[in-house]
């Protein structure tokens, strides 16, 4: 009886997931395959949809990989991502340590969390244009502030200098995402078994020791999650560099996605080149995610054993 019941309802499992499957095939899988195919063709020119396969199928890929501009874009993307991610994770961890430590008991935590997270929810396009106004030349709020504080004597042109343009883009990314990362990490800490912290407390661990020896190792998977999502977000960065300075000055803030957009939707509408570049990015993102994941796993395996024994010993000590 029971068996027949489950059997007869199985069709609803298929039926209810059908809309998802259909939408996925039509709007996600098909465009992905189509992008891949376009990468091997001669499809270019505004409004064109017909194409022929190239006699040298990898011509577009070769052109992209040898293109100076694409390499610059890739280098910029990685540089900007690293400059933004390192301070982001450091400050997120610092605030996590402060906000979750029972020794600090900071007041107004709720307020700080709400304020730190706020930039993340605002339209990136708006923020990019806002920062363009904030850092414009010669009069701008940033220049005004820095001059009032006596840090600079004359207004500085942030948008012509290549390094400062990159730094501002990285800063915007940092500014938009550190609050998000912090909240994820805090929720991770709150998910750790409080007994472990109690044990550390009784053993006389200092705040720093607790953080580095207990909190951080327990946060491994969450940090991995943050790292991978940030990596994917960083490698597909578009809104900020595009609207802040449109890739300039002198391609200093040109990211790969801005490059792809420019190839496909301006100039000579090189859809095939853009598709090839997209696929290269697709593969790069895949490889780097797997790489991060692997690296983490291997380290984890080595350490878990040691940690387990260590924690078991600690718990025993507490029980005694």
């Amino acid at each position: 009886m029971e068996k027949r019941k489950t059997f007869s309802y199985a069709k609803y499992g298929y039926l209810f997931s059908l809309p998802f499957i259909l939408a996925y095939v039509i709007f996600h899988l098909y465009p992905t395959l189509y992008t891949m195919i376009i990468g091997f063709t001669d499809l270019k020119g505004l409004g064109k949809t017909s194409f022929k396969f190239l006699s040298d199928p990898f011509l577009n890929f070769k052109a992209i990989l040898t293109s100076e501009l694409f390499r610059t874009a890739l280098k910029n993307t990685v540089t900007i991502w690293i400059i933004n991610f390192i301070p982001q994770i450091i400050f997120a961890l610092l605030f996590t340590a402060w906000f979750t430590s029972p020794r600090c008991k900071l007041r107004g935590q709720g307020f700080f969390k709400v304020v730190f997270y706020m930039p993340n929810i605002m339209t990136a396009a708006t923020i990019a244009v806002l920062f363009q106004a904030l850092f414009s030349y010669p009069t701008s709020p940033a220049n005004d502030l820095l001059m009032k504080l006596g840090l600079i004597q004359a207004p500085f042109n942030f948008q012509v200098d290549k390094l400062s343009a990159k730094l501002v883009v990285a800063f915007i990314q940092f500014w938009m995402w550190y609050g998000y990362t912090m909240i994820i990490l805090i929720s991770g800490v709150l998910g750790i078994n409080p007994e472990i912290f109690e044990a550390a407390e009784i053993d006389g661990c200092s705040g720093a020791q607790t953080f580095f020896k207990i909190t951080l190792p327990c946060l491994r998977t969450i940090i991995l999650y943050v790292l991978i999502t940030a990596l994917i977000g960083g490698l597909t960065m578009y809104d900020i560099p595009r609207l802040y300075l449109n890739g300039g000055p002198d391609n200093a803030t040109l990211t790969t996605n801005v490059f792809i957009y420019n190839q496909a939707f301006s100039g000579s509408y090189l859809y095939n080149r853009a598709a090839a570049a997209s696929m290269i990015m697709f593969i790069l993102i895949g490889i780097s995610s797997v790489f991060v994941f692997r690296m983490y796993r291997e380290k984890d395996l080595k350490k878990t054993d040691r940690r387990r024994r260590h924690l078991a010993a600690k718990k025993e000590a507490v029980n005694e």
Partner: protein, 286 residues
């Protein structure tokens, strides 16, 4: 005795001061750009040029609004309505169908269930922007550019939301209730709509907020697909503020920027508690 031990373990006073200083510094850093934006949107271009940084609002809000709308490019209300249609449509599609798919994964035993779930996990990480060229070409072929549907319908397949809803349902959806509805002769689809949905509403609301905001903020795909000015969304409107027309109208540009994020400000300050809790939940589940 225990009291004295506790006191020893508390952080020292200068350190607490340092913590507050750092926190307040970052709070100012987060707020300052928005404060400047709002204040400068009430100041005239001349005032902004003289002193770009000021904390005193002026009285040019209306004249800025007049300048902003007089150029016939920036239409905040039109942008707002377009964004609202797209974001609402996306949110409804994503939340409803993700819940339905998650329900299929939780409530029924079917042969390909585990395979399907693995597939959802696998495609969760694929960034959609990378496949936009094929998407554009496909939509161009079927004459669906300058249409909101290609921006709304793909949301029916939102793998990360399916994943989230599944994780939420497993512990919190009592299948006995579904069973008893069945005994009472309730059709499966009706059971889902009238019994399951009310029970998972909190999770749907959380996911809905994020989906709405993400869709509202999206620039890449709308910019590719919508070329008619009438259909421009808020983020596309923002990119117009960069154009030459507003090059010297600083006050008006700040006002335009403020208008584009005004709805988000309202949503955030009404729902910040739930939003923060939602972010935290996403992290734990992920």
């Amino acid at each position: 005795m225990s009291d004295s031990i506790r006191r020893v373990k508390r952080v020292s006073r200068p350190f607490i001061v340092l913590m507050y200083v750092v926190c307040i510094f970052f709070a100012i850093l987060s707020l300052l750009p928005f404060v400047i934006m709002v204040i400068n949107s009430t100041r005239s271009t001349y005032q902004v040029q003289q002193h770009a940084l000021s904390f005193l609002p002026s009285k040019y809000l209306l004249s800025n609004l007049k300048i902003l709308t007089s150029k016939d490019t920036f239409h905040p209300i039109r942008g707002f309505v377009n964004s609202l249609i797209i974001s609402s449509g996306t949110t409804i599609c994503a939340v409803y169908f993700s819940t339905l798919t998650a329900y299929a994964l939780v409530a029924y035993q079917w042969k390909l269930r585990n395979a399907f779930f693995s597939l959802v996990l696998a495609v969760m990480m694929i960034p959609t922007q990378v496949t936009s060229i094929g998407f554009y070409q496909m939509m161009y072929r079927v004459h669906m550019t300058n249409n909101f549907l290609p921006l709304i319908l793909p949301a029916i397949a939102s793998p990360s939301m399916v994943f989230f809803m599944r994780q939420y349902m497993i512990p919190s959806l009592p299948l006995e209730i579904v069973e008893s509805a069945r005994v009472d002769g309730c059709h499966e689809f009706r059971t889902f709509n009238q019994i399951v949905i009310p029970m998972v509403k909190p999770a749907m609301a959380t996911q809905g907020i994020f989906c709405f905001v993400a869709s509202w903020n999206q620039l890449f795909l709308p910019q590719i697909l919508l070329t008619k000015k009438k259909l421009y969304t808020m983020p596309i409107m923002v990119s117009l503020l960069k154009g030459d027309i507003y090059k010297t109208e600083y006050g008006a540009v700040y006002l335009g920027l403020a208008l584009t994020v005004l709805p988000l400000f309202i949503v955030y300050f009404l729902l910040s508690k739930y939003i923060i809790a939602g972010v935290a939940l996403g992290g734990v589940k992920g």
